[in-house]
Amino acid sequence: MNDDINLKIKGVAEEIYKKIKKKEQPNLDVPLRSLTNVSYDDNEGYFKLLGKKKTRTLTASTIKTFAQSLRMMVLSKQLVDSKDLATKREVYYVSKNWGDAKFNDQPESDSTMDDVEAMLLTQRERMGFVPEEDGGAVTGKLKIIEKDVETGKTNTVDCTKFVSGAYNIPNQVEDLEFQTDAKFILAIETAGMFQRLVKHKYWEKTNCLLVSLKGVPSRACRRFIRRLSDEHNLPVYVFTDCDFYGFMNIYRTLKVGSGNAAHINKFFCVPKAQFIGLTPQDIIDYKLPTHKLKDVDVKRGKDALKNDPFVHHHKEWQKAIKQLNDMKVRAEQQALAVGGLNFVMEKYLPDKLKNHKTWLP
């Protein structure tokens, strides 16, 4: 698999070399990274990359990014060869050795990394690059078997043994193995709500696995949920705030992937996921306290209606987004505390899990 990356990188470099030999301007093809370059088909269950490409021809104005992309590939090759990893932040610091080709800030370096990743149609993890961010956390009746690549020894983590903590999902989840007899996975947007459910051992009462998404789920977290649900045939229920960030950035990304790294959506999506709340209808039904939508929020809703292929596919989502925009409010998960601190466990979730009709696809 790693040789595969090295071959791809070498392929790109040789292509450029050949062009220069022929006295032609070399170029790099990068898939267009945006929602306009994905399609959605329910049967496939994820955002699929369309063929749109942006060709970066080497000219005086592109030579800097061109040089940086090549530098990034060399670094990747070195990491893969030495079986090492570098975080995005570390890559940014490594670039400080590149003289004039160094990155001035991390977003610049991240963006070049994303470009190279998309260009090679691979995952940055395979190129030896890992994110800094937390991969999310899991708890419930789950045993995770970890394997030390160097020694070959294994270690089993029994998640039921955690009292107040949870298992932190690592950046590399491909080699993990799972044992569980839980009935479903409940993915939760906020760490606060996750803490409440962990504290009261909600997983024990309902025999589920609780996953803390910590905002927009990281790739590792998405892949973790995907493997868990695939291998043990578990339904996935997603529980977020009632706002467009929760709907689109969190739920939609988890379920079908994003426009930004569409070439990897196939592996990093959870097509089984279903949205149980909070829905705009919940605000009405449970008389939840709300906050006003800001202009930017309203715009985000309109953008989703206009540009998001996933929303285009689902009338229910279109309805829900319009409803929320008309109500001009949003509600947080914690707003359920208005009915009592444990209202969420005693009333809301049991109601929801029973009544499929209140869900969104």
Binding site: I9, Y17, I20, K21, E24, Q25, L70, D100
Partner: protein
């Protein structure tokens, strides 16, 4: 037409005639003269250019030089003028100006130098430096009032004539010359005039100094040789670069539109014509018998009215009638501009710049007076880029150093949209750029805002012409500035290529796995590919030694001294 000699005779017989029977303004002037000319002068010295000691030195030299240049050109002689300003200590200076002009006939010498409002230029319409006949006699009076010493004049009209030496005072009560000494002397020159005046003054260098004035004068008078010795006894010679005298401007009769009431009354008194009809057709340009009849009709005056019998009211009617009559514009071939090529050459000597351009407009007319506007621009080079552009103003080849803010030229430069030509400019000010702007007006009658001839009056026709000339020159400049920016941008891009090319080579070496020789080859090829794509680079670098006309000695410097406007 009134002949100059006849006019002289007229004023000879009755010296007060001209002033006595003229407009109200002159009557007022007469009253002041009754107090004394000296009083009038000291009250109005700022109008005549003697507001302070520094300016007095400039004005005195300027008036003498203007007269010399005018006289030489009128006589068809290539001017050679020597100017000396000698520091006599205690704020006294001796100004000596000597020319190779045609000289002055003996009996005229006292009046020309020692009688205010006497001269040949006031009565004719022809492009010349002097206009009112105030200048040199005002300097003589200033010298007399501040030092008490007489002006000393030598003049000789030909090899066979004697040189006449005069020491003159002005009788400040009667405005008459007072001859202190008169004698025939030996003078080595064939012809010419020399004047020596002692005045109270001060000498400072800088933007409004005599040094500056003389340098600028030399720029717009490339046919003149000027030898200048400053009060520090440093001599500079501005040698003639053109052997061609400027085209002799033609004298024209005034155009009816340009004649105001006072002047009209004077003309009516002095004409030989017997009827209004013949007065109009004989004394004015562009008036034929048809037009004359039309004027009479519009003025409700009979064509047979005798000019001598005109009352003030009738004269007013006549001026009004003229305004209501359509009369074709005056002839414009009487103007002698410097010329596009010489304007540019003048600038080349003055400023070591990268780019020069100049524009000479077609003649135009304001209030019946024809005029021509010329503009020259010098951009870049050794000029400072972070200060306002330097504006050089000239009227009939005379530099204007004072009252820039009040001048129509400044008022035309400021609202011109220099930003369109790639320069920086904030509202209501000169552009900020390494730029010198030269503006020159030639006219048979330059409309100054005051007698001291420092600023051009704001006639809409003049402002319009200056703006058009600036725009025309500005467009030429703009295309250069833009080209320069483009080339600068291009240079930067090429620098960019140089900067990153080695990274491409090095990484490809590592990824593809070739040796260092190949790496160099890749870099060479890549450079070739990228530069071929960008095309040949035009050479637009400034080379300070490229301008062969430029003379460092001659160059205008904006450093020493402070401008005390």
């Amino acid at each position: 037409m009134i002949r100059q000699t006849e006019l002289n005779e007229l004023t000879e017989k009755n010296p007060d005639l001209v002033e006595e029977k003229t407009a109200k303004a002159h009557e007022l002037a007469k009253k002041q003269r009754d107090i004394s000319v000296a009083e009038f002068f000291s009250r109005n010295r700022h109008l005549l250019g003697f507001d302070n000691k520094r300016k007095a030195l400039l004005t005195t030299i300027k008036e003498a030089v203007d007269n010399s240049l005018d006289a030489c050109e009128e006589a068809g002689i290539l001017p050679e003028i020597s100017i000396q300003a000698i520091d006599m200590e205690n704020e006294r200076f001796r100004v000596v100006v000597e020319d190779n002009g045609p000289g002055i006939v003996k009996k005229q010498i006292p009046k020309i130098f020692a009688k205010l409002l006497y001269g040949s230029k006031f009565f004719k319409l022809s492009q010349s430096r002097g206009q009112q006949g105030i200048g040199i006699s005002a300097s003589v009076m200033y010298g007399q009032l501040t030092t008490g010493r007489p002006a000393k004049i030598i003049s000789k009209i030909s090899k066979d004539d004697p040189a006449h030496y005069y020491e003159l005072h002005i009788d400040t009560q009667k405005n008459k010359p007072e001859i202190v000494k008169e004698q025939v002397v030996e003078w080595e020159k064939d012809h010419g005039t020399k004047i020596e005046i002692d005045i109270e003054a001060s000498y400072l260098k800088g933007g409004q100094s005599i040094d500056e004035y003389i340098k600028q004068t030399a720029i717009v008078n490339p046919h003149a040789t000027i030898i200048y010795t400053n009060p520090k006894a440093e001599q500079k010679i501005f040698a003639r670069v053109s052997e061609k005298l400027p085209k002799q401007p033609k004298e024209i009769k005034p155009h009816p539109y340009g004649v105001e009431l006072g002047r009209m009354i004077k003309m009516l008194k002095l004409t030989e014509a017997k009827t209004l009809q013949s007065f109009l057709t004989n004394e004015f340009s562009r008036v034929g018998s048809g037009t004359a009849k039309q004027i009479c009709e519009n003025a409700f005056l009979l064509p047979k009215t005798k000019p001598g019998s005109f009352s003030m009211e009738m004269a007013e009617k006549l001026v009004k009638g003229i305004k209501q009559t359509k009369i074709i514009s005056p002839p414009t071939d009487c103007i002698s501009p410097i010329g596009q090529e010489l304007v540019e050459r003048g600038l080349r000597k003055e400023i070591n710049a990268e780019f020069y351009c100049s524009v000479t407009r077609q003649p135009s007319v304001y209030s019946g007076n024809p005029f021509v506007i010329e503009v020259g621009l010098a951009y870049g080079g050794e000029q400072p880029g972070d200060s306002s552009a330097n504006l050089l103003r000239f009227a009939n080849r005379v530099p204007l150093l004072y009252q820039q803010g009040a001048c129509a030229m400044f008022k035309s430069v400021v609202p011109t949209a220099w930003r369109n030509y790639g320069l920086q400019q904030s509202n209501g000010s000169l552009p900020v750029a390494p730029l010198t702007i030269l503006v020159h007006i030639s006219s048979v009658w330059v409309p100054f805002t005051s007698e001291s001839k420092e600023a051009i009056a704001h006639y809409p026709e003049i402002i319009k012409e200056i703006k058009l000339a600036l725009q025309e020159a500005g467009r030429k400049l703009g295309s250069y500035v833009k080209k320069k920016k483009r080339v600068g941008f291009e240079m930067k891009k090429r620098g960019y290529i140089e900067k990153y090319i080695s990274h491409v080579g090095e990484t490809l070496k590592e990824l593809v796995g070739f040796n260092e020789i190949e790496e160099k080859k890749v870099e060479e090829s890549l450079k070739e590919i990228l530069e071929k794509k960008r095309g040949k680079l035009e050479d637009i670098e400034f080379d300070k030694n490229k301008n062969e006309d430029f003379d460092e000695e001659f160059a205008l410097k904006k450093d020493e001294g402070d401008d005390d406007e």
